[in-house]
């Protein structure tokens, strides 16, 4: 097998993007890199075209909502996979909730089309230059983004499932 691992990926990223690699960690062995959202397309392009790393398979794209993290409420998460070296990389870009805009990856990955539509549908992330950014699973007339945390799933007067009652 090859000797390319997480460290090589991180080194290559740091070398090319320097200060735009905001942080890096390895939860459960999966290299997670936070990048500057304004450069996400360059990063994806770089990893995709990189001769050695060949991180050219977009496994997954989704978003997470952190309502308490002011200025970086929405995290857009990309999972990339290099089938040649069998390494996975997770990229994160944090966006402010009042302007959740990030460039679309559809020009690099056709697979990103529906994944971005799904992310828009549930979190309201606007993917710039997306060819057809419409809702995909919910109906078009819906006027909110249901997976955001302010939409509680259950009746908020119910408290039998509250963490406070379990000592947390």
């Amino acid at each position: 097998m090859s000797n390319i691992g997480n460290q090589q990926v991180l080194d290559a990223m740091r070398q090319s993007f320097d200060a735009d690699v905001l942080s890096a960690s390895e939860p459960y062995g999966l290299l997670t890199i936070e990048v500057n959202p304004s450069r996400i397309i360059e990063v994806l392009e770089f990893l995709n075209k990189h001769q050695e790393l060949q991180l050219n398979f977009l496994t997954d794209l989704c978003a997470v909502h952190y309502p308490d993290d002011a200025g970086r409420e929405i995290a857009v998460v990309y999972h990339l996979h290099s089938m040649v070296h069998n390494i996975r990389v997770r990229l994160k870009a944090y966006l402010p909730i009042d302007k959740p805009e990030i460039a679309s990856a559809t020009a690099i990955y056709s697979a990103a089309n529906w994944m971005e539509r799904e992310t828009y549908d549930f979190y309201g992330v606007k993917f710039l230059n997306h060819p057809d950014l419409r809702r995909i699973l919910n109906m078009d007339s819906m006027d909110y983004f249901p997976l955001r945390k302010e939409y509680a799933l259950e009746d908020e007067t119910r408290n039998d499932k509250d963490d406070r009652f379990f000592g947390r």
Partner: protein, 406 residues
């Protein structure tokens, strides 16, 4: 009058003039040929498809939102309803995700038991898909025989967990009960008689002239496009890429087993069919190996914080009662963290991206649903083909509405 160029994987096959009488045809949302609730608005000139516009979401049930209010053990039944043709794989994928997050190492016996159940589910999944390709080409006979075999697999699931389609099989840490004698008897019987009946199905369809003429070169896709579209599973392997999660990121002791990954060449309907046919045989071989080398031990791992204690102990012992109560109330010690775990589902890489903040429910759970990702290539694959080929392409892609819409 205008020109229509018909391409096969980027290569120009033929050009024909279209006479300008373009019709709009609704294929779905409910149509026997779509095998599920999703719609395709087709722009057709006679039988020739010019454009397709898929609409999905008809059975969206907000699983990701639901999961954010459910304790970990209550999410298993949600996963049943993703790819309901092979629910056990989804269930165990979820159990393994939670085990990975909580750092639980299950015993070899549990691994092997899981492999047996998962491979049975894979066989059932592939049998449905392949026999339905037969139906869509007009060969109903194979379908009726193979559904009898699928029925036997469901009877085995019933013997293990009591349920058939949406199984909710297994628990975090192992199985709710050991394989019963009834199950072992049914499994041995299946391993003895199924290969022969499967051979009959094979000889009925695979080299059938009519079938081959219908499916060869129908709905092809190149390896480059398939990878760009995020294809995984048999659909990707049919294009010649030997990517299989079981081999690349072995889980549940798959590294102990000796099996091959069949690959195709052209990525057309016939290759997708053939890849599944071979995978069924490989799955049988894996099940045999797992049975022969089944380690001794218990059907669960000693993780009392996660694994429900046996019912009779709950009635008699204080500790068991406490653990039972804590687990049922969702009070399991889950560390904060994020984890991605993938299993090779019936139709591709089924991934769970789980973020926990240490609370009783996931903070975020995202399902990487293989057919949601590869179904978006469908318009590209059927452009310029005949309507009847489009139906075949769809059934050979194994798009399962439950997984598509989550």
């Amino acid at each position: 009058m205008s020109e229509l160029n018909i391409r096969n994987g980027g290569q120009l096959v033929s050009s024909e003039t279209i006479d300008g009488e373009i019709a709009i045809l609704n294929l779905g949302p409910t149509h026997p040929a779509t095998h599920g609730v999703f719609q395709n608005v087709l722009k057709v000139d006679g039988e020739r498809i010019l454009e397709a516009e898929p609409t999905i979401g008809y059975i969206h049930r907000a699983f990701e939102k639901l999961a954010e209010r459910r304790p970990y053990n209550q999410i298993t039944p949600i996963t049943d309803r993703l790819n309901y043709c092979s629910s056990p794989i989804n269930n165990m994928g979820w159990h393994m995700t939670v085990e990975k997050l909580a750092g639980i190492e299950v015993s070899k016996r549990v691994d092997y038991m899981r492999v047996i159940i998962m491979e049975l589910a894979r066989i059932a999944d592939h049998l449905v898909c392949n026999s339905v390709i037969g139906v869509d080409t007009g060969a109903l006979t194979g379908f009726t025989y193979m559904f009898q075999e699928r029925e036997r697999i469901y009877e085995m699931f019933e013997a293990v967990c009591g349920a058939r389609l949406t199984t909710n099989i297994g628990r975090i840490g192992g199985f709710e009960r050991d394989f019963t004698d009834d199950f072992k008897h049914k499994l041995n019987d299946f391993l003895k008689t199924f290969p022969k009946r499967f051979d009959e199905f094979d000889s009925l369809i695979t080299r059938n002239r009519i079938f081959m003429d219908r499916v060869i070169k129908a709905g092809p896709i190149t390896a480059e496009r398939a990878l760009n579209y995020g294809f995984t599973g048999p659909n990707l392997r049919a294009t010649g890429v030997d990517y299989d999660v079981r081999v690349m990121n072995p889980y549940s002791s798959y590294q102990d087993f000796d099996f091959i990954i069949p690959v195709g060449k052209d990525g057309d309907t016939y290759d997708r069919f053939m890849v599944r046919q071979h995978e069924i045989r490989e799955s049988l071989s894996i099940i045999r190996q797992a049975l022969d080398n089944m380690p001794a031990g218990k059907h669960y791992t000693e993780v009392p914080d996660y694994y429900l204690p046996p019912k009779d102990e709950v009635y008699k012992s204080m500790e068991a009662l406490i653990y039972h109560f804590k687990i049922v109330m969702g009070e399991t010690p889950i560390p904060a963290g994020e984890v991605y775990h993938a299993v090779e589902g019936g139709n591709g890489e089924l991934g769970y991206y789980l973020i926990s903040d240490g609370g009783r429910t996931p903070y975020r759970l995202h399902f990487r649903r293989p057919c949601f990702i590869y179904y978006q290539a469908y318009p590209e694959m059927i452009k310029g083909s005949l309507l009847s080929d489009a139906v075949l392409t769809m059934s050979s892609m194994n798009v399962i509405a439950g997984e598509l819409d989550a």
